[in-house]
C-alpha cells in the first residue's frame, strides 16, 4: 500500500519561494502567471493493512506543521 501526502502552506501564509519562482517564470517570458505556491510531496511505502487514518496521524504528528501547513492524503 502506498500513500502520497501533499503539503502546502495554508492560504494567507507568505510563500516567498513560490513568489521567487513566479518572478523567475516572468523573467523567462512566461506571461500571465498570477501566482505560484510551492509545497512538497511525501511518498510513503506502507504495510498492506495500513489505513488512511494512520497516515493522517503521521501528518498531524510529524509530516505537516498544521500551524502553517495544510495537507491532503491519497492512498493507492
Amino acid at each position: 500500500m502506498k500513500a502520497r501526502v501533499h503539503i502546502m502552506l495554508k492560504t494567507g501564509v507568505l510563500d516567498p519561494q513560490g513568489e521567487a519562482v513566479r518572478h523567475a517564470l516572468g523573467t523567462l517570458g512566461f506571461g500571465g502567471v498570477k501566482g505560484v505556491r510551492q509545497g512538497k510531496v511525501i511518498e510513503l511505502d506502507l504495510a498492506d493493512d495500513a489505513t488512511e487514518a494512520q497516515v493522517t496521524e503521521m501528518c498531524e504528528k510529524l509530516l505537516a506543521n498544521t500551524v502553517i501547513e495544510s495537507y491532503t492524503v491519497e492512498m493507492s
Binding site: L14, N65, V67
Partner: protein, 222 residues
C-alpha cells in the same frame, strides 16, 4: 543552578551557549538527543542554535520528536525553565511549548549580522536585567526566522505582554516585528537572535550577557 544544553546532530551553538551560561555562574551538562532522561535537578533546559537534523522536513521538526524532547516538553509543562535560541526556538514551536511557527525569511536569504532589538518586557527571568524599551544589539544567523502565528495568538501574545523582543528593523518579515516570545508562565523563552554570541567584550559586545546573568541569579535564589 544546573542547566542542560541539548545537543542534536547539527547543533552548532551548543558550546557557545554552555560558555555563556557558565560565565554567568551556571553548572552545565551537555545532553545528547538520544538520551531519554535529563540529569537530576535540572533548573534550566537550553536548546541551542544550529541545523538539527540538517533542517530536514522543517527546521526543528525532527529534533522536536527526538527522545530527549519528550523530557523537555514534560519539564516545560510542569513549569520548568526552557530557553530556545534560533533553531532552539524553532524546536520549541514544533513541540508546541511556544505558539506559532518560523517561516522562510521573506527575502529568501540567509541573514547573518548584528541587529538591534527592543526589549519589550522586563517581566521575565530572561529580561529582568534590561530596562523596558532598551535597545540591545545581538546577532542573528538564520534562514527561517520569519515568525508567524494566527491573529488570535498574536492578540494573546500582545495582551499578555509575552513579546520579549522586537526587531528595530525587521530583517526577515517577522509578524509584528517579533524576535522572541514567552510562554504564559513566562518561563519558556524562544528567540531567533543569539545572545550567547554577544555575551562578552571579545564578541564585539556584551548585550546578551544580562540575559544569562539574570536567569542564573533567578534560579540560584529560587
Amino acid at each position: 543552578m544546573h542547566a542542560a544544553v541539548i545537543v542534536f546532530p547539527g547543533s552548532n551553538c551548543d558550546r557557545d551557549l554552555a560558555v555563556a551560561l557558565e560565565s554567568a555562574g551556571a553548572r552545565v551538562s551537555m545532553v545528547w538527543h538520544k538520551d531519554t532522561n535529563l540529569p537530576e535537578g535540572i533548573d534550566l533546559i537550553a536548546i541551542p542554535g544550529g541545523f538539527s537534523f540538517g533542517d530536514y522536513l522543517r527546521c526543528g521538526a525532527i529534533a522536536a520528536n527526538s527522545p530527549i524532547c519528550r523530557a523537555v516538553v514534560a519539564h516545560g509543562e510542569k513549569g520548568g525553565y526552557v530557553l530556545g535560541i534560533c533553531n532552539g526556538f524553532q524546536v520549541l514551536t514544533e513541540t508546541g511549548l511556544l505558539p506559532g511557527a518560523l517561516l522562510r525569511n521573506a527575502g529568501l536569504k540567509y541573514i547573518c549580522k548584528p541587529v538591534e532589538l527592543t526589549v519589550e518586557t522586563t517581566n521575565s527571568p530572561y529580561t529582568e536585567r534590561y530596562s523596558a524599551g532598551q535597545t540591545i544589539t545581538v546577532p542573528i544567523a538564520h534562514h527561517d526566522g520569519n515568525y508567524h502565528c494566527d491573529a488570535d495568538t498574536l492578540a494573546q501574545l500582545r495582551g499578555e505582554d509575552r513579546v520579549a523582543f522586537r526587531y528595530v528593523n525587521t530583517p526577515n518579515g517577522a509578524l509584528d516585528d517579533i524576535a522572541g516570545i514567552l510562554s504564559p508562565n513566562r518561563r519558556v523563552l524562544g528567540m531567533m537572535p543569539h545572545p550567547e554570541r554577544m555575551a562578552e567584550p571579545a564578541h564585539g559586545g556584551s548585550d546578551g550577557a544580562a540575559m544569562f546573568a539574570g536567569l542564573v541569579d533567578d534560579l540560584v535564589t529560587a
